[in-house]
Each structure stands twice: as structure tokens, then as C-alpha cells.
Amino acid sequence: MMLGKVVGTVVTTISHRDYKNRRLLVVQPLVLEGEKPSAEDDFIALDNTQAGIGDTVLVNREGNGARQALKNPDACVISVIVGIVDSIYVES
């Protein structure tokens, strides 16, 4: 799982049935102080937690975990937002 910031929303009226009734959000992964975020790191994730733009989120980026989170054994989804982060502690 990874930590990211929601930076955008995607609206798709025509989409696969596994994507219906859930929002697609654009997530930018968090990087440690001193590291630069890469322009190729961002990705799209399906929202399972009512997250919104600006939220720090926990994202599952693995298909089997995503299928369990969505309770659909055949879902064609890789990235699912599974939590909204309140606080993080990083050892100094």
C-alpha cells in the first residue's frame, strides 16, 4: 500500500461495469523530504472511502487486494483508495 495526495477527479460516463457508482481520483504519491516527485508517478485510483481532492490517502495498488476491498472477485481494478490518512510519523 502507498500514501498519496488526491490532486484531481476523473469523470467517465462510459466505463466498465466494475467502475460504475464509484469515483475515479488522480493520486500523486508522497515523497520523503529532499526527494523530488517524478512526473510519471501519478496514477488513477478507484475511490472506496469518500475521499476528495486534497485528502491524504492510503492506496492499495495490487489487484487481489483491490478485488477484496471491492468485494468483487472479478473486478478489473488495480488501485483502490482504502483509507484517508489522519497523521503520519516518520522516524528522523
Binding site: 495526495k5 490532486v7 484531481g8 469523470v11 483491490a66 484517508i84
Partner: protein, 106 residues
Amino acid sequence: MLFGRVKGTAICTMKYQGTEGLKLLVVQPLNKKLEPIGILQVAADVVQAGVGDLCVMVRSREAALAMPDIKFVPIDLALVGIVDELEIRPDGKYDVTLRRGWSQFS
């Protein structure tokens, strides 16, 4: 999952069993700013996208799961949605660095 722009169609006469009837499209993977990432790729289409459409794509085993009937097919990139509206906040708007010690987000 990532963005892709449809650039053309790919037609194959000989196809692996289970993939007959699937539409193949040439796509350019894009990042959130819609800048190209890497080279052109071929994706299977299940949403009837056309040339020029901005799409949501899914990779790996989940691409095969997006297929309508037979889900055990050699497909590793699929189009699963056509983007109508996209709202992306600019880069400096949110801080994406993780500071040492405690960070509060809410």
C-alpha cells in the same frame, strides 16, 4: 491505472483463441498533465473508444479481467473508461513531501 490517448487502430487477422472479436487500439500512455509517458502501446477496448479519445486504462492481469466473456486471455492493457471531464489541481497546490516526525493531515 493510467490515462491514455487513442492514436489509431491495430488489426490482426491471426489472434490467440479467446481474443477473437476484441478491438485493438494504439494508445499513448499519459501522466496527469496529459504528457506522454514512454512509447505507443496496444490496448484492448471494451468501451468502444475512438481515435482521439482520452481514456482510463488498466494494466496487467486486471486488463484480462476487463474482457467481456473469456477472462483467461493474453491481454495486458485494456481501456476501461472514456474521460468526459478531468479536473487536476496544479503541482504546487498540495504539498506531497513527507516530513520527518509527526504530520497531521486532518
